[in-house]
């Protein structure tokens, strides 16, 4: 039997209670619905999706910041316990480096927090801070500086150093470059790729930027309204997207070369916007915007259809018995 995956989430769900303007109960928001995926050690797994798709809620549940409503989170085959042991195994780099660093702590103090939590000796802490700064290619004297003196890219390097401090097995990256310019983004991704190689890290990479996903993740899950619509190896999923949502999403990515334009699916721009997770459509949650909608879509929520060894999508069209001529 092969080794269990580093991280496995099984049927993860989260419902938030919604409240009206006066604090009265107003139903439930189904933010994440039965999400399952596994990440092998050393892999970069990407979660792509638009705002409100549940990407960040999934990350918070894996970190233990939010309790799941249902489902399990397994680390190396063992159900993850809350608290310090999980925090040592999993660390996170947040989206906005401007607000995830304490402005009143020096860079060195910020990086030292996880080390002090692990009760390292003070001399060892200082040496480790130096080492971590070197790993993220920042000069050692940055330990004395404060966040306001640093550029966005430098701050994000500090956030990465702080995540590395606890020697985690898995790092969650929640839109780590979306606040940065492309020339800075390229340098941060280069650094993450190199750290991944040299330290044998595993990444869960959350992003809405599909072009970046294509170049960084080895496997991708596409989320729509809290569900995985399609999951598979990056190359296969981008070359032959099976779910109409994935196709529409790829078709609307702005590209800059003729080569990319040729590989973009040729489907019309999707109309309308993502429905509210507080008021989900019946049946397949994408049927209200889907160009290929047919008979069962507004009644039955489709299950996954296996397309290839590691490529699955949740769509009625892919079922062998699908008869698209049926009227709705």
């Amino acid at each position: 039997m092969s080794a269990p995956p580093l991280l496995e989430v099984i049927g993860l769900s989260k419902n938030f209670r919604a409240r009206g303007a006066f604090g009265q109960r107003a139903g439930e928001v189904k933010a994440v619905r039965g999400v399952s995926f596994a990440i092998a050690s050393g892999e970069v797994f990407g979660l792509a999706g638009e705002s409100g798709s549940g990407k960040s809620t999934i990350a918070r549940m894996i970190l233990g910041l939010t309790a799941p409503s249902a489902g399990a989170i397994m680390i190396e085959g063992v159900e993850a316990s809350p608290g310090a042991s999980r925090a040592r195994a999993i660390q996170m780099v947040f989206q906005n480096p401007g607000s995830s660093l304490n402005p009143r702590r020096s860079i060195g103090q910020s990086i030292a927090v996880p080390l002090e939590a692990a009760r390292r000796r003070r001399v060892a802490v200082a040496a480790r801070v130096d080492e971590l700064l070197k790993m993220v290619q920042l000069p050692a004297d940055f330990a004395e500086r404060y966040p306001h003196e640093l550029s966005g890219g430098q701050k994000q390097r500090v956030a990465i150093a702080r995540a590395l401090a606890a020697e985690p097995r898995l790092i969650l990256l929640d839109e780590p470059t979306s606040a940065l310019d492309v020339s800075v983004q390229a340098k941060i991704i280069e650094l993450l790729q190199e750290l991944g190689r040299t330290l044998g890290l595993t990444f869960l990479f959350i992003s809405h930027d599909l072009s970046l996903m294509r170049n960084f993740a080895s496997r991708v899950g596409v989320l729509y309204l809290g569900q995985i619509a399609e999951i598979g190896e990056t190359t296969a999923l981008f070359a032959s997207p099976a779910h109409p949502y994935t196709r529409s999403l790829l078709a609307s990515v702005p590209v800059i070369t003729a080569e990319e334009e040729a590989m973009r699916p040729n489907v019309p721009i999707i109309e309308g916007e993502v429905p509210s997770p507080a008021n989900l459509p019946a049946g397949c949650s994408f049927h209200t915007r889907c160009p290929n909608v047919f008979a069962p879509c507004d009644a039955i929520d489709p299950d996954f259809t296996v397309i290839a060894a590691d490529h699955r999508a949740r769509c009625h069209l892919l079922r062998p018995e699908a008869d698209t001529t049926l009227p709705r």
Binding site: V182, A186, E190, H208, L210, S211, L249, L250, A258
Partner: protein, 329 residues
Amino acid sequence: MSATLLSLRDLSLEFSLFGRRAYVLNRVSLDVPEARHVALVGESGCGKSVTMRAIMGLLRSPPARITGGEILFDGRDLLTMSAPEREALRGVAMSMVFQDPMTSLNPVFSVGDQMGSILKYADRRLGRARSKAERMTRVYEVLRQVRMPDPERIALAYPFMLSGGMRQRVLIAMALLNETRLLIADEPGTALDVTTQAQILKLLQDLVAERHLALLMITHNLGVVRASANYVYVMYAGSVVEHGPTAALFANPRHPYTRALIDCVPKLSGRTTFRGIEGTLPDYAAPPPGCRFAPRCPHATSVCATPPPDLAVGGAHGVSCWLEAEKAA
């Protein structure tokens, strides 16, 4: 070729703050013709928002000071115009769409009230008389032009009731209320999801064609530029380094900065090697004397310490770089 509506000629601008001077815009020239969609693209801090604010006359002076050049609107220099003359153009013949659809609308007034008050203010300035009902008719008409279903209902809605895409449409509608000829859009759709962004870009393109608008779009997103603009200006550290028709510029980028920037963008087709651009933006208080990209340029030589000429490299494609001058010689 259609008539040039907006033209910047060698515009230079500096800020003085606490006795320090920052030389921000460095002889910026650009043209926005009628019925054309022109993009000004650059990374944060390159001066694109300052350029836009200078055109609209939204910079406080001091600290801002225009030290040279002119801003021609329909052939008249905005910089030598009297304040009331300029005020009669702003929000009427030239309008702006601000970046953030979440914060640019007033949360305590309905969409219809906010739009109506824009018309009321313009009417008062231009000495026009219009009843409230006539103004609301115009509001519904413009909401329909930005493809809003059911304008009468939208006009009664408050901003929090609308989605991000609808708020962006309302902002565009506000800019179109008066007899706008020039529209300046600051990062349209960047706060939105890609599927919604695609819809907004399509709308802007349609408006340029239908209303013969001159559209100047300010953005950092090269993909958005390629998808929608007719003509592009690439800005780095307060200077236009390259400009040309969109297709020509993306097919054959000539300036080392443009090339490096294009390389940094992850490609949907994969195989992007992430390298980035070494170094950081220069200090505007002491910018490099010649080409402002020279300190980060892999091809820089001693000649780059003198300002590079703007050279035509085929058609309307131009580059400010000594490399091209050497090639031409």
